[in-house]
Each structure stands twice: as structure tokens, then as C-alpha cells.
Symmetry: D2
Subunit: 406 residues, 4 copies
């Protein structure tokens, strides 16, 4: 084996390597990539609180293969034992970067500049790291300007994966598998506790909400949460505002009478009338102020000063004038609203949920509620250890949450 | 067209032919089968309350094709205009019937014997009609004894499809499509009303329940319903009783702690200990009486005198001694328990739900609750107009139902 | 009953009222809305080819209720017996219309202007009808300019629902329920036949495709279809082009090796490198021309001159410069590309599928393929009689389709 | 911490503790259970091939808590460092065992009797271990006779979890997540390879098949596999045989015409006629021999001498006389047929799949094919590392498998 693995490097890692399933994954990657490993040194954490320390020699058949292998190990906290500054190259044109640019994960990252390790700001996945005035900042490709100093290659970059904290109450809950065959009340209790804790830490609670909130009768409970101050930001699309207004103006949601639960033939016209009414007023805020809109989620947001951002999509009717029809602008506004988030709760919207998931660093807890287990799984897959999935009816979930947060 | 449809028959039908989508289906069938039709006479019900009346000439290329066509039209209330007695032949051996036996639907059926129309008893689908002492009775193939008088062919048989009753409150609700994007509270209200009405009519309310009732925390609410007298019969499998006992004895359900919602490693052994404990006592009733079992759904059933039948399946652990391991016996006991049912509520069990659906006549309303829309759709497909499907969390559903039936 | 239904109107309808389930629905609506009906005259189509004709007196407790009732009946082909010109009012400001504007369905519609019935152009749902130079045209709310002549109220408007054509081969297939428990090969055969027929009629075949086409190995078969000329337009999002390029450049799709089916750790970076490569080239077409992109769906589209439109969404990475980031522009470009469509095939993309569904008139057949039955149901619900749903693996579907269209 | 964890024990474990995620789980369990741990000694496998060795001191607040903790650790290969013989107690009555009986997992287990470690035979989950003539054998509770010697407590028992073998080709594939967004062809190739390998080892290939095999058009491909000798055993229910016969006799499956894919009104009667025909012949074999049944899966099984076992269920129509209506007998016959299995392929049947999963030891690979990801997940959950899940259309899967096994 050693003959075919002529090229080798030594990497180190430390932390809760076993608890967080990291050591296992490191070994897997080496073998998957056709490499080999030899544990040079491993010191196990003797108790639950102690870190483990690993020094690993990895080898591969070719130098490029070794490069790729080391690159693949980085998100799991491995870094070359020998320290160098990060390689920095200028962007050759607006929106483009050198081919060997470092593409970020959503995990906490440091880069070594002039011999000092500095933490990367605005951490998010699928970004590039730009050095600006002594800062290292995550930027989207499209934000890169010609001449910007782009971190490339693999040297001088350290990624710190989130370690699961293994104090009983939280870790077991967080590592729960997603299942509809579970008791929802228990999950709601944990989520309420997490919200209280987020408040205590002075961070914002962000809701990402789809129109199913309205269809399933969640409006009144969501309103309770807003009034009691549990909602700092609402990120949604055109449809939430439209169906919310439709309910307030006509008593229907997507043409279903919300008192009787009965679809009203011809009710499909109601949402167009709601759009016309809001746009005539000049937007949601103006519709509230002028008394056109008297009730609903959006009304409560306006009254309570809750920030809301509505992102457009190809399936929008209207849209109402508040909807950001340019998705670049919408992404930027979403990202800004999330910058001070301490916790995110996604209610039945895969589209906006994935969008938000792309923007978050790995250390912000995310709750994802949907009656379809496939949606919960898909969202949880993108931020594994940080996501609590709850497979249940969104209206009933909000009902229970409002009761527990009285 | 007429040249290729040399063989024809005249059939009649009457009732709410348009409301119930029956007229449409009759025409469809004729065309599907390669036949042709001519409306000899049609008198439409002028108002919502009036019946419509149809006389239809149907034709087909061959005599056997015409036979099959008329047979296909029978479940939609069509019957030959010319009246004959039903054809009756003896069964040639136990469990077997003549090849041209009439295979029943779940709809109300009459057969003509000695010039009189008599109603078929124990109506269910996929049975044969046996004449016994002036009665016509649905029998399973396996119940047929050699020499039994079997209704064959198509003459002298009339099927009366259920007509949708179009008084606003009910028909709109019943014809709702199944959707998870609906307000559950409204559905629960209608179901509670239907339960009260069933009580008023002096009929039994039958629950068909899977172990998800326990996993989702529905136990306490189901117990409330039992104590208040809303549950007459529980049809289930071995798993419901086992997980119910596991919860009572160990506080877990399928190894998940029901207070913390957290899976307990090693908890999978608990259900085997529960089985051992019940079987040592001699069964559920004895376990309750001897104090081995002190709480849970089964305890409440025993105390309240609720009838329960546990049917075995290939996936059973144990099973506990109460479980009927012969499925013929289990089917017979289920069918008996259903004979006085006024309403059936299925809670998250496709296997037993389909089993029960096969046994019911078309006029017994069925409520089917499951978080998986595919299950609700599958169960509803078997008894279309009679099924109310609710896609939601079963634990939360029982919580809401118990509140509405206080 | 008549005392409480003082206000009445007489409406007429004609066509395949029974076959298409229309008569039933008309009666339902009247009762749902708290109204009453009396059949003044009904002449049934005596054979499968003949139309039926209805004259119906409907009544309601109040004049506004009667208005709403008649409005609700219009999509089912009912129109006031007494003929008037359509009511036309000017738009009072850009993007807004009078409160009583007529909101369109996706069904063929005529309006009466100066005593003449003219057909509405660019028919789609959720639009307003604007009179321009003797034409009546569907416009989105946002396209309306102040002073535009908007059709309001209900007079002088006739909607012609699609009648199911009941020639055996097609109608039975079209009315199939959506099920995963079906033989896919049979469905593919019908779809291939429909494609050939669309070709014969000289209409365009439009594919709406999600990146699952790539993940499930459908690329090679989709390419075959493009090369053989079966694809006129591809409507998609950023992700299709990105994952297609990722596959071509790195052999992975969303980080999964397409030869071995094995997820490649670190493969998530590949799609960012693909985006950078395309954007550096200046876009997809330039990347093809300059040889950066050598294979894949987009390459074949460029080479074959297939029109493609990529619509942006909030979850996009990048996006590549070809992606239309403004959803208004994207909707307009989609709508334009659909204007000559004879048939639309949706491959595993709910977002773009709903977007496209909103733009289509009711008479363009739509095929919707997804492995998730909920997606197929949701898309079919929006255009009922025109949609063929196929629940299956998209890669295998394309494989079979390519074989049948050799 | 130590003050509250007065009771302690030292356990050892060895093997691929890191690769198989076992070390992580051991630590988790200790903390979950409110215990504490201290690593006394840990020697890591330096390369992929070397074992790791662990000596761990675990402590808990009370002696019973310590007992439970050690019990929970056993399935992960932990065993008390100090060796004792297993505790053996007699069963006090038929079908019942002492309260502290050892409940088995599906993993390889040894018990220490008279100072010697002997391997437990007929390993399966949820059984008890009975000592008989120097053998230790898994028995179902119901098989236990009074006086049988039952292994109790925790001493003298060693469980050997399956370690993932990390040679590239297999382990990566086996550890794949279940997803419908994958290329099916690749999975089929691996499964075909596994079948060839099973053949080479001289072990039997067992198919567990639901009637969806017939509905989705898989019959002809399944028949090919039978004829070419790839099918040794078919485990199924009544429905497979009935729908298979329905297809052969009437060309329909559950009333759907298999050539046109079109549901045939009245086709629901066909399966009753098929049952009557088979039962009149005296069973499947007799129906084949007498020429009543001429084609289909069951015919090929009879001709090729493939063993089949049909288990009854509460939802059965008929059933045909071949169906084992007693589920105890059915379980026993299934278990016997599985005793020489080298590989199991489950085709779209959750009920029988779970039943079979309960009977298998952990080292038999299982392939589970279903279009519903929830079914695949549920089956995979019961035998984690041994299951390959494929989310796709069963008919298309069989088509591809038959092609690859030509």
C-alpha cells in the first residue's frame, strides 16, 4: 500500500473529535479518496469534558490527489501541522476569482495573515474569503470586485467544526432523528426553552414563514407570538402577505373558508382582489395605516415594528409592491436581517428555508417545522447538527408554541 | 356506429344521478368498454330534492361484451328494465362457487327471489350472496358450504349507490379533498358533531388504532375519550397493546422516553419485557385485574367495558396471548364488532384500516387520520364518498378531539 | 325556501355538461352558496357526441349574494341568458384596477363589446382583461397602465370550460388518478404519442426541468431528446445549469459522483467552481463557444438552438450570469416562451412548475413527472383536466421516453 | 461529579470502534443515562486495518442504574472486563421467562457456559437465549417451555456489533443515505454484484415481494430473474399470488388493464374470480398442474422449484388456500426459509419487510426498494448498517436488474 501512496502530509486536529463523529469521518474520507492514513499520535479525552488530540499522516498516490484530500479534511478541523500564511491572489475581473479560490463552509474559519490567525467575518457557505483592511470577510462571488484579495489554496486556513455539546438536555434532543411518530408537545417545550434562552442572550428570533401558516389556521397563534414580542423578523415570500390579506379581507385563504374549512367556489379570485387592494394603497404599511388592512400577520408586524422581508419568486401572483422582485436584492436583505439572528424558526416553506439555510453560519440553531418529512430532512441535511426537525401540522404547532410561551 | 353495436339492452336508474357524479360515470363506462349509448328518456330533478330518472339503451359488439357492460353498470344503480328473478346455483364444493357468481360491492343490494325484492344482509364488498331460509346474506368465499344457494349472473340484482346528501353542512365537508394544508380544528369540530349524532342514533363508535397513538402522545387524550364513553370498540393489533403496556410499565414507547421525547438506548428491550409481563399474568384482562398493568389505553378499555379485538400480523413480537393469531378468526371477530357500528375512526394504521374498510357497507361514515397523505388517500379510495380524511399528527388530533367532546 | 330566495336570475349553459362533471358542480355551487335552483329546461345529449343544454333559474337571499353566485357559476360555462355588453372601466392608476374587476380563469373566455363577442387573447389565470384596439387581452395587474380599459363586473363575459373528449384512448388516460402503483411504461407510451401529435400540429414542446434531472442520471437521455429535436424550449432555474456544468466539469452532481453513485466529500465545492468558470467565460453560450463547457444539457441546448430561460430564486448560489435575477423579467420571458407551446413536460421542479402552470391556458396539455406524489397532485390540482401526472424516478422516465422516441 | 457516581464498573471493547461510530455511541449512552465515564485505556488502530482497544470505567448514581447502563452498552460490544459464566434460570411456565431475561439484539452473540464462550445460534432480535444440550439458541418467547434454561442478567454475555468494512467499493455504497434524488442505475449495478457474490458463496437469495411488483409491470422482469435462477425463495402475502393470477387470467391487476394502463370499471371483481379459480383447483400448485394458471410469477415459481411462503393478514380477500392464515405458522415458515439466506431483497412491502427484518441476523445484507422514501427509511432503521435503500419505481427497478443480470 505504501508504495502507491508516495505523497504524504501530516495534519493535526483537536476537540471533541469522537463525540461529534469527526474522527470517523476523517478516516472515511481518506479511504474514499483512495488514500491511506497512519495515526501518528492520538490522545483521547478521558472524560466527557476533555478534548481529544490527533496527529495524522495521510498519503495519496499523486500530489494533486493529496491536495484534494487535505482540502476535503479541512471542514473537519484538520489543518497542516506546518503553519504558513494563507495564499492571497487578486480577482482578475468583477464577479470572478482565481480558479483555486477557497470555497467556504458554514463553519467558523480562521485565516493566517502576516503570521496572525484572524477570524473570518460574516461566515456562510459557498462564499469566498476576501481580505479587506486587515479583516477577512465572506463575500458572494457576485460581490467580488476586480483586484479584491481572494484567499486561495489551502494553506493558512483553519476550520473549526461545531462540536456537539454533550450536556444531557440539549444534545440528545438535537441529535434526535426526524420522525412523525413522535410526541410534538415535548419538542415544542424544548423549542420554547431555546427561544427564552435566545432572548436572554439578547439575540433576535427570526421566523421564515410560508402561506401554510395561514391555510392551517396558524394566524391567530402567530399573532399572539408577535404581540408578546417573540418574533423579531419575518422572512417570507409574496404569498404569505397575500393569503394573510385574503383571510383578513374575505375570510378565505386560497379560497378555503377559514371558519368552516370548506373551499369556496370562486374563492380563487379573492387573492387577486387582495393584491389589488394592497397595491392601490401603496403597499402593506400604507394599507395598514389607511385602514385597508385591519387584521392579520402583516398588520401585527407593522404595529409591533417587526422587520419583514418578502422575496419574489417565479410563481408569484401580483406581486404586491412590497415584494422584492430582484432576488439579488432579496438575498442581500435576507442576509442582513439574519446577521443578528440568535435562532431561526422555519415554518413550512422549503424555498425560503433553503435560501436562509445557505446564509447562516453553523452555530445558529434552526428549527424546521413541516408536515412533510422530506422537507424537514432536506433542510436538516444542509446544516446537520444545528437543525431541530419537527414533522407536524404547522397550525397545531403554532397553537402549542403560543400556549407554552404565555 | 350502430352496425358494430348489434347487441343492446335497456337499463334504468333513478336517484340523485347528477349530484353523485353517477350519470357521468355511467356514460364513461359505456365508452370505455367500447360500447355505445342512447338516452331513451331522462327526466332531471328540477330542484335539489328531486330525483332524476334515466332510461338508457346500451349496445356492444358481442353478447358477452354486453353482459360485462351491464355488469359494470350495476354498481351505479343501473338495472335491466325487464325484471327477472335472480339466477341461483348450488356451490359445488366447500369454499368454491360457480364461475359466474355475483361478486358484491359494499353498496346496498337487493335480489329478486320468487318475484319479491329482498335486501341483502351483512352487506360488504368482495363477498358472494347466499340464499338461506328466505334471507339473502353476504358470505365470504371461505364460508360457503357445498350445496349453498349462490346468486349468479346479473339478473334480479339491484344495487343502490349512496347518494350524496346535499344539505350544506355535511356534503361540502365530506367532499373536501384530502390535504395537509388545511385547518385541522375545523375538521375536528365536524367529526365531534358526527360522533354526537352517532350517539343520538344509538349506534356504536369504533376506533381502529395503531401504536402511533402511543408514540405521538395521544394516550392521555384517548383515555379521556374512553372514560367519557366515546369509544365503544377498539380494533387494533398486537403492537398497540404492547406499546401501551411498555409506556405504562417503563415510561417509554418503542424505546422513546415519553416525558423527554428522547430515545433511550436499550429501550428496545422494554417491549419484550412488557410482553413477558402480560403473558405471565395470562393476558391483558388478567394483568389489569392482578395489578400488573395499572394505566394505559388497554387498562381503561378493561375498566370501561370497551370491547377490543387484537389481530395478529407477520411482524408481531410475542405476541401477547390476547392477540388472535389466526387471521380468519381475527377477520370474523372484527366483522362482528363492526356489525353495529354507526361510525368508524381510523388512527394511523393502514393495515387494520384497509382490513376494516373491506368489511364495511358503504353507508357507515369513516374518519381516517394519518400524518401521511398517501395513507389517507389509499383508505379513502376504497370507500370514496363515505370517508373523511384528515392529514395531521394523531396525538394532536386526539388532543383536539378530547377538548371538543368535553 | 322560495321566500328566503327572493332574488333570482336565469342562466344558460351548453356542451358536454354531464361528461365533464360540470352539471354536478353547478348544482353544488348553488347549494354551497346558500342559494336554490330550479331547472327550467334541460335537454340531455342523447349520444356521446351530442351536447346537452341547460337553462337554470338560480336564486339567493340578497342581490349581492346572487351576484356572487352567478360569478361563481361562470367558470363552468354559465352565462346570463339576457345578453349585455361587458362593463368597461378605466384603471385609476398604474398597476391598479377598479375593485369590481373581472379576474380571469385559465379557460377560453369571450367578452361582448359593441354587441359582438370577441375572444380574449393570451388567456391565463389571475389576470385582468384589457380592451385595446378592438382586442381583449389578458394582462397581469402590474402591466396595467392608468386609463387602461378594464373589463369589470360579470355581464358580457362568457367562459368555455374544456370539455373532456371522450374518445377512448385519450380520455381514460387523462382521467387516470395519480398513483405510484402503476406501470410507467404505459404512461410513457401515451406521452410519446402526444409529443408526436404536437409535432404534427407544428406546436412547440416545452420542458420545465429541475436539477433532479441531473442527479438521477437523466442527462444522457435528455441530451438524446434534444439532439433528436424533441425539445423546443427549456424553462429552468440557475440550479439546472450549475449542476449540469458541475457534472460536465467534475463528474459530480451536488457532490455525488455520477459514475459510482457515491457522495464525494468536499464535492460541494464543485458547483461553486462551475459557477466561477461559467461567469468568467461570460455566460453559458460563451462557455460553450470558448470550449470551457464541452458536454451537458446546456451545451446541447446551445448547439441545437434550443431556447432556454433560467429564472432566479432566493436559494440560488451564484447565480450564473444567464440567470434572470428579476422575477418579473423571468415571468415575462417564461410567458413569451410558452406562447407557442403545444405541450409542456415538467420534470421534478415544483417551483418552476407552479410558475408555468399559472401562465398556461387550460387547453395546453401538461405532463408532470416527480417521484413525490404530493408534488404531482399539487401541480395537477391547478389545471385539473389538462394534466397527466406520472409518479416515478425522473432519470428512469427520461430513459424510457428516449427509447420510445427513437 | 464523582460523588454522585459512587457505583462503577470497568468494561472493555475492541474492534473498528471509530469507523463504525461505536465509540461515539458508547460515550453518548453513558451521558444520556446520567452516568459518567473515564477512559482507562484507549489504543487507536493506527491504520485502516487495525483494531482499536478500549478499557472504560463507567459510573452511575445507583447500583441498578449502573446495571442498566452496562446493559445498554452491551450491543456496542462492551463487556465486563471481569469474566463470569452467564446466569441461567429455568422458565417458570410455558411462554414465560424470568423477569431479568436477556433480550437479544440481531448481532452476533456469545454466552459463557462452564467457562467456555459459545456462539448463540439462530441469532435474531427480540428473542431469549435458551441453553439446550450444550447449545445456546435464540427462541421466541412463545417457544419457551417450562423448565427451559434461560440466559438472564448481563454476565457472561458478549455482543459483537458488525463493523463496517472500509474497502472502498462497498462501504461507501452501504453508507449512502437514502434518497430519491439519486441515479438508480448505479445502485442496481451494485446490487447485481452483491447477488453474484451471494451465488458464489453458495447462499440463497430471498425476495420479499408485495403486489406492487405486479401493478407496476414488474412481472415479466421478475419472471426473467426466476427463470435464470436468481430467485431462491419468495416470501409474500396472499395479495401477490392473487394479483399475479388476476393478471394471468384477466389481464388486469387490481382492476387496471396492464396493457393500456387504464382502470377497468368493474375490474375489482376479477381478483375474486381469480381466488375462486385457484381454490377450486385446490391451490396454486394444483392450478398450475391442471392448467388453470398458465402464466405469472407463481407459475414460474412452481416450475422452477422456487420455495414460496404466503403469509396471511387482516386485509386479505379470500384468501387462497396456500396462504398461511395463522401468523405463528407463517412466522415460523418465513424464519425457516430465511435460515440459509445470504441476501434479502424487499420489493415494496412494508408489512412483510418488517416481519422479515425482525427475523434476520445483522450480517445478512438487505436491499429495500420502494417508491416511498418513508418505507425505505423505516426498514433501514431496523437494521441500519446492513440495508441498502433504493427509492424508485419497483417495475423499473426489476427491469434494470433483469438487464444487468443477463
Amino acid at each position: 500500500m505504501s508504495s502507491s501512496h508516495a505523497h504524504s502530509a501530516v495534519v493535526g486536529a483537536q476537540g471533541h473529535l469522537i463525540d461529534s463523529n469527526i474522527l470517523n469521518t476523517i478516516f472515511d474520507i481518506v479511504i474514499e479518496r483512495g488514500g491511506a492514513f497512519e495515526v501518528v499520535h492520538f490522545q483521547i479525552g478521558r472524560t466527557n469534558d476533555e478534548f481529544s488530540r490527533l496527529t495524522l499522516k495521510v498519503s495519496a498516490p499523486t500530489q494533486p490527489a493529496l491536495q484534494r484530500l487535505v482540502e476535503d479534511l479541512m471542514p473537519f478541523g484538520c489543518h497542516p501541522v506546518e503553519e504558513h500564511d494563507a495564499l492571497v491572489r487578486p480577482a482578475d475581473r468583477d464577479g470572478c476569482v482565481p480558479d483555486d479560490f477557497y470555497s467556504t463552509t458554514n463553519m467558523r474559519t480562521h485565516v493566517r495573515v502576516d503570521g496572525r490567525w484572524i477570524e473570518v467575518e460574516r461566515q456562510r457557505m459557498d462564499a469566498v474569503v476576501v481580505l479587506e483592511d486587515g479583516h477577512a470577510i465572506c463575500r458572494k462571488l457576485r460581490e467580488v470586485k476586480v483586484g479584491a484579495r481572494i484567499v486561495c489554496g489551502l494553506q493558512g486556513i483553519r476550520v473549526s467544526p461545531e462540536f456537539r455539546e454533550r450536556d444531557r438536555a440539549d444534545f440528545v434532543f438535537m441529535s434526535n432523528e426526524i420522525s412523525s411518530e413522535r410526541r410534538v408537545g415535548v419538542s415544542v417545550g424544548r423549542i420554547a426553552a431555546l427561544m427564552r434562552e435566545t432572548r436572554t442572550r439578547g439575540r433576535r428570533i427570526v421566523f421564515v414563514a410560508g402561506p401554510v401558516v395561514v391555510h392551517t389556521g396558524g394566524t391567530e397563534y402567530f399573532i399572539e407570538l408577535i404581540r408578546r414580542g417573540w418574533v423579531d423578523v419575518v422572512l417570507a415570500g409574496n404569498a404569505l402577505a397575500v393569503h394573510d390579506a385574503e383571510l383578513a379581507l374575505f375570510g378565505t385563504s386560497l379560497g378555503v373558508d377559514q371558519q368552516t374549512g370548506v373551499p369556496v367556489h370562486g374563492g380563487h379570485r379573492h387573492h387577486m382582489r387582495a393584491i389589488n387592494a394592497i397595491n392601490r394603497a401603496g403597499g402593506v404599511r400604507q394599507a395598514v395605516e389607511s385602514g385597508v388592512l385591519k387584521a392579520g400577520v402583516m398588520v401585527e408586524c407593522v404595529r409591533a415594528g417587526v422587520e419583514y422581508v418578502l422575496a419574489g419568486s417565479i410563481r408569484d401572483d401580483g406581486p404586491i409592491v412590497d415584494t422584492l422582485t430582484d432576488i439579488i436584492e432579496a438575498q442581500d436583505r435576507y442576509a442582513e436581517a439574519l446577521s443578528s439572528a440568535g435562532m431561526v424558526i422555519m415554518l413550512s416553506t422549503m424555498l425560503h428555508g433553503i435560501g436562509v439555510g445557505n446564509m447562516l453560519p453553523s452555530w445558529i440553531p434552526v428549527v424546521c417545522v413541516d408536515i412533510n418529512p422530506a422537507v424537514v430532512t432536506k433542510l436538516a441535511d444542509r446544516g446537520s447538527s444545528q437543525t431541530i426537525g419537527v414533522v407536524t401540522d404547522v397550525g397545531l404547532f403554532l397553537h402549542q408554541l403560543a400556549r407554552q410561551l404565555k
